[in-house]
Point group: D4
Chain length 252, copies 8
Amino acid sequence: MLVTVDEAALRRLLDAVQVGAVTTDDALERLRRLPFVDLGFARVDHHRTLRQGMAEAVYGPGKTPEQCAEIVAELLTEPGPGPVLLTRADDAQVAAALDRNPGGQRTGSAPSTVCWRPAAPRAERVVVATAGTADLPVADECAATLSAHGLEPARLIDVGVAGVHRLLASADVVADADAVVVIAGMEGALASLIGGITPAPVVAVPTSAGYGASLGGVTALLAMLASCAAGLTVVGIDNGFGAACAVLRMLK
Amino acid sequence: MLVTVDEAALRRLLDAVQVGAVTTDDALERLRRLPFVDLGFARVDHHRTLRQGMAEAVYGPGKTPEQCAEIVAELLTEPGPGPVLLTRADDAQVAAALDRNPGGQRTGSAPSTVCWRPAAPRAERVVVATAGTADLPVADECAATLSAHGLEPARLIDVGVAGVHRLLASADVVADADAVVVIAGMEGALASLIGGITPAPVVAVPTSAGYGASLGGVTALLAMLASCAAGLTVVGIDNGFGAACAVLRMLK
Amino acid sequence: MLVTVDEAALRRLLDAVQVGAVTTDDALERLRRLPFVDLGFARVDHHRTLRQGMAEAVYGPGKTPEQCAEIVAELLTEPGPGPVLLTRADDAQVAAALDRNPGGQRTGSAPSTVCWRPAAPRAERVVVATAGTADLPVADECAATLSAHGLEPARLIDVGVAGVHRLLASADVVADADAVVVIAGMEGALASLIGGITPAPVVAVPTSAGYGASLGGVTALLAMLASCAAGLTVVGIDNGFGAACAVLRMLK
Amino acid sequence: MLVTVDEAALRRLLDAVQVGAVTTDDALERLRRLPFVDLGFARVDHHRTLRQGMAEAVYGPGKTPEQCAEIVAELLTEPGPGPVLLTRADDAQVAAALDRNPGGQRTGSAPSTVCWRPAAPRAERVVVATAGTADLPVADECAATLSAHGLEPARLIDVGVAGVHRLLASADVVADADAVVVIAGMEGALASLIGGITPAPVVAVPTSAGYGASLGGVTALLAMLASCAAGLTVVGIDNGFGAACAVLRMLK
Amino acid sequence: MLVTVDEAALRRLLDAVQVGAVTTDDALERLRRLPFVDLGFARVDHHRTLRQGMAEAVYGPGKTPEQCAEIVAELLTEPGPGPVLLTRADDAQVAAALDRNPGGQRTGSAPSTVCWRPAAPRAERVVVATAGTADLPVADECAATLSAHGLEPARLIDVGVAGVHRLLASADVVADADAVVVIAGMEGALASLIGGITPAPVVAVPTSAGYGASLGGVTALLAMLASCAAGLTVVGIDNGFGAACAVLRMLK
Amino acid sequence: MLVTVDEAALRRLLDAVQVGAVTTDDALERLRRLPFVDLGFARVDHHRTLRQGMAEAVYGPGKTPEQCAEIVAELLTEPGPGPVLLTRADDAQVAAALDRNPGGQRTGSAPSTVCWRPAAPRAERVVVATAGTADLPVADECAATLSAHGLEPARLIDVGVAGVHRLLASADVVADADAVVVIAGMEGALASLIGGITPAPVVAVPTSAGYGASLGGVTALLAMLASCAAGLTVVGIDNGFGAACAVLRMLK
Amino acid sequence: MLVTVDEAALRRLLDAVQVGAVTTDDALERLRRLPFVDLGFARVDHHRTLRQGMAEAVYGPGKTPEQCAEIVAELLTEPGPGPVLLTRADDAQVAAALDRNPGGQRTGSAPSTVCWRPAAPRAERVVVATAGTADLPVADECAATLSAHGLEPARLIDVGVAGVHRLLASADVVADADAVVVIAGMEGALASLIGGITPAPVVAVPTSAGYGASLGGVTALLAMLASCAAGLTVVGIDNGFGAACAVLRMLK
Amino acid sequence: MLVTVDEAALRRLLDAVQVGAVTTDDALERLRRLPFVDLGFARVDHHRTLRQGMAEAVYGPGKTPEQCAEIVAELLTEPGPGPVLLTRADDAQVAAALDRNPGGQRTGSAPSTVCWRPAAPRAERVVVATAGTADLPVADECAATLSAHGLEPARLIDVGVAGVHRLLASADVVADADAVVVIAGMEGALASLIGGITPAPVVAVPTSAGYGASLGGVTALLAMLASCAAGLTVVGIDNGFGAACAVLRMLK
């Protein structure tokens, strides 16, 4: 048996056993109660906010509408104030989840992000920049996730390097940010450019926008990883949610 | 001419020829009769159970409903008690096969696995674990194949490493298993983790769940093959049927 | 704090705390003592045999001769009877390890496998088959690992499919084995062929033998994973050690 | 200007110029008349049969039905007796081509091969073997192309290596063939096996049948190229037409 | 002409022009003087610390020893207190650079990192964890870069997932860190595991350690990008320097 | 702040400041006004023609019909005589753009190129050659872009190397061109052949025409890049627009 | 037991058993004696010439000089007149093989092909063409193998498509050949060109000559497989031996 | 027979035949004399300058020193004034070529470019820009080739995007060039940036500089092909020679 416990709590439990306040069987039982609920088709993780600093998002694809609705419901039973998210959900999943769990806010048409219990606003300055208009859906997912946690990012849309003055006009916003998310397909050069003009942490998101030699985002991914701008970090293709989570870890 | 014979049977045949009980022509004819039936579009293999310890499953994709039905029928003519399986079948294939061969049990909606003549229950403990909910269809195919051969696997669903305590809570079940099938997409890390906590044989199945850098299962596949947990073995992407067959070979 | 404990041992410990036989501090300390030793550059895992059914092998590449020697020494301090292995070691690593830890047996020239405290012989029949002569080093690593654990495999060398009668002449040995390791480079077709004539578990090892379209073993790897012989499992390229470990898990 | 001429014809033309039977201008004009017709969207090659030993087939995908019909019509205007083929045609293309050019014979449903003016039967023995039932469409395209040129191939369907006796039962047919086309997806091992039991030229066609690690035919392609059976040659994925053309070159 | 200027400085300059304190020509000249020095073979960037929050490191490979020495010298002429780094330098490069620029501290043997003018110690807690001993060179490069900027990271070496208790024993250190760098080759699963037990930002560095299916680090790279642990970010293969820079951006 | 200015303009501005004709604040404001318009979802670049010698084309995919229409409208507000292009537009995008901006000329059905304000005819001789009929859509996009800028290319369609005389018949046209665009899928050999018979700049466009080993254009792409014909340059797969732009840069 | 027998021989054997001329035990023994000799490290195949129409060549890489010498010696014990080949041998392997088996003829320096008992000259016209001078080693291996079997190929060296007239000058030789081997690296376009001007079977050999986008021969390999010249077949990268064997199969 | 002739010359020849000034046999012989010399191991192309606008360079790798020397000598026999180049030559090749053909000028150490008979200076402005110092060898090869043809390029070294002001300081040089060659490894973003600020033709050369995710230049290659800067063209990895040839075609 492998157990997860808080060391101070363990000491208190052991002390209670020693003084007879807790029986051995009860102690064993408590050690066995782990912080998740098994729904059969999913093990809902109630302590993710504590452990990782952000809520467990329900990732829509591959789940039935009913499963989405039930997992969201389970997460909302936890009394904590943290937000609950449903991501990349299609219309049926959104409908089922909202029907069972009223009060969620939907962002984007499809796929959509839905948020329940958004966090209070925070002051940090996050920039979400995209190279082109086609990168907008990924930027939307990223911004929705940040908003759910109280961060309203500034958006710089369509500032790709083919017209470098478009970015340079907003260079101050980038230079003064607390964190920057750069979203770009094709050759992904925007990430290097931004990495060179800001001391803030830069999270690069390659997108599958583009065609031919863009290879569905692989080109941008490789380019961002090979960037000559030191200290750039990268998340998976089209992973706007992951980039937002990375920012949340950094601004914790 | 290349022939497949049992050595003892060959000796008996030669003895029979020597004493004149069998003519040369008859002996030649018998040597020519090989253990399969040629349907024109398929050569049905009646001795696979004997040779490989499991039934020949009819793989649906690329076959017409009529072809599926006919191959199943041919396999059921063999008097042996072994199960007969139709895998990855669409609705039309299932309907045709069940119409001509009543009594099959269907698992999953589409694609489906259908089983005729399931084997009697067996006692070995097999675990089928998935990293996420989206891996369920592969787990279903694997479990249906095991069930057809008498093995009812324990299921651990959604125990991916992002919340490692979810797996650790069931660590005993994994450690005491006779065989474990680990089904995971994305980065496939669950296989390494399980490989580290059980002495049982572990068959890892990469799945195409996930997006972007998951590369349709290739990432999980490579990760499982490169695993630092010694003695892990891997089957092809989404190949729940193959993983079940591997377990059947091991528990033979 | 996350701890690894045996449930029965935990109950005994809690009982001892309750009756005052162990103080809270001592209990906490014991829970903290985990079954490994930290050498600074490595965390030596003394319980791997218990957890995984095979010894922790010291993988040579990337370690200094002194590091190899020290890790082996640490593993040999454990009183248990299990074998200790050093794998893929170059001459300097072998010399340093044997100098500090006499009594090891070396297999192969370079890279070499060295074994201390080999296990007693076991009766299971394991076959190690290679497609060509160039696959021998991988077969040697596999056989040395099996031998260290008491299994002396039968070897079928150079039985590739270009001369299928070479394998068929030994078909009985393959059909009657408890486990078969198939080692092949180039197109790796031997794995499919053997998978079709034995009910035993088959572990396929792609090798980097061959040139051009062999792509350093990737072709054989893909071919083995895509094999039409159901229930075949695969380990990484040239991973003779891993294949032996897989067999050890199966014959546990 | 670069011109294509027959040397003997050139000598005759020069002689005719020398004796005044042909004027310089006429000679120049003749040298300019090249053996193709420009339809605007295609340059129809009337001399391909002479140059390459087989007809120019009209490859359907990417052409409008009208373009298909017109190119076929143009090819049929050539008085020669050779066959004219339309390959991989969809229903609309077939309909348009047959409507304008009656008398074609269609093979397969969709995609289809259509043949006009099939050649007279020839005696060479060609074998078309497939590993599975799902490889049939490629085999059909190959056989239709061979038939158009007078060769009626023997078919061995579903003789993959997982049940090697299914092939061995027909080993004589393979060994005595003048040419063998092996069509296989997944791991493509059938090509190596057949290459090992026949002295005939073997043309291997990888197919996109299979899933996961089959990588849409790339695995079979690589495996066939890396085959340990010497003298095997390979054509592109699913290219049954190309394999037939290769056989036609060999049996010319 | 495109120029880089500080807006406040520009206003001061314009004011000075207006009042005649600076002539138009002088103003133009100042706008032309950009913050780098052109050595012919390199343009040394003196303002990188200001723009990106970390020093410009001199990357050794592909430069002559003399070039390395000269660029370091140029960077040291800048009066600022920031560190100057030479990375991945071979013995000749290190010797040349130290000979011309005494006082640098070398880390590792070859390739080495050399640091001049290290920053004063800082209090943030950074953890550098590696999956195996073979990942140490990358960890050394990362730690040397952090040290140069005043951060002394805690090191967890050889805590790969095959023996998960080795990491869990240090779980508190990971959970309480301000940033964690995870360095792993093979399947890279350690990143996912650590991502699941800490709310800190996690920078994953895939390494080229491992063989066969590790594909020189590509497997670990893909696995880290596809990780199920949300908010993980990744840098290029073996890029310990880049990971350190990413941490510096985050803790700025 | 980073600003883009013309050096002469900057001198005039500074002079004006010095003599008091322009205030400091006004000067700062002018320096801030950059040559683009921010529509929120796109930053329209009015000076691209000046900077790059060709118009900013609106790339349809990933934009709504309204966005396409609005960007086109914005570009047409610029008084300059240059053409405005909408590329790869579907029917809805074309309709919306033409509805709001009458007078555009559409080329191709879908995807389409639409051109407003085409440039006056120019005299340079550009050749657009394709290997097959299936490469026509890419040739159409390329020719439409050239036409918009006043160049009417000569077209050589279906001159692939399988019938080399088809190209050789038009060799003079190729040899005398000012620029040649070669569009080919499959093995892309036409580019090498044309590169060998003309001194003109040759821009090669790999296309996704073909199947199997064509790998969606990657084979042609690699072949063109590896061409033995010196001085060939390549653009991305199916990128007829990019090839036209490259020609425009060359003939500027 | 699976046995390989000639049907007529089997009938004679059965007749002999029936009339008592051969005992059952002797018959069984004869059926067991298969046509190879097991040397321990290799199974030498004496009947390959019969089965495949060419000798078993000893492939040098991965074998010790002694192993090479011994396998050659074993092959030479067979009384048949066929050639015996050692391929890709280094100097030590050649020396050992020639020392033990005098009379072999060596071709090339290193790697070398050595031939014993070359076959009598044959009349078929085979052409071996290379695109460049760097492809010569592969052409040498191919020609040496052909020569060993009595075929003296015509050589066309350095006739790549960048100077198409160099090939066209020898077009008659190509058009009249019985078989053509085309050897090319880089973009491999020569294969398509030759395929278009000859009706003979064309075997294309991609080579690893070239750099950058040649990808070690993969580009040429893909280009040859995707060739628009119908009926071209391909062997593995640098596989001059395999191409020769393919020709031998065709001219059998 | 396929022949290459100039149409006017053909007309003169035919006229001469008609009037008896040339016999049929002589005419045939002249038509047969093609513009190359066959050295056995190479077919030296004397008319490449005429056909392609640049000299045939002798590519060193894969040729013996003697072959290099002989081909250079053959090219120098041609009376024309064009330059003769030996590229990527090692020391032995350079020595042999210079020994036999005095007067060549060598550039770089090894690999070297050697030039005989350089062309007279020309006035066009070509810029060769590199992202880093490690890209210098490719820039040297490119510049040496341009110089041989009379073009002395301006060099911008180490202007990568991580410090964008380094490039912007030279923006005028780039904007006013007649052609720009951009040489960059890693993520290759410099090409996009330069493409955005100049109307000149831009030839991008990916280099193998960088490590890890640079994938030996493939990342830069893909990024350049997928560039958002329209009209960029690309040559193969490290192909500085090819880029120079492309410029020569453009400025012809």
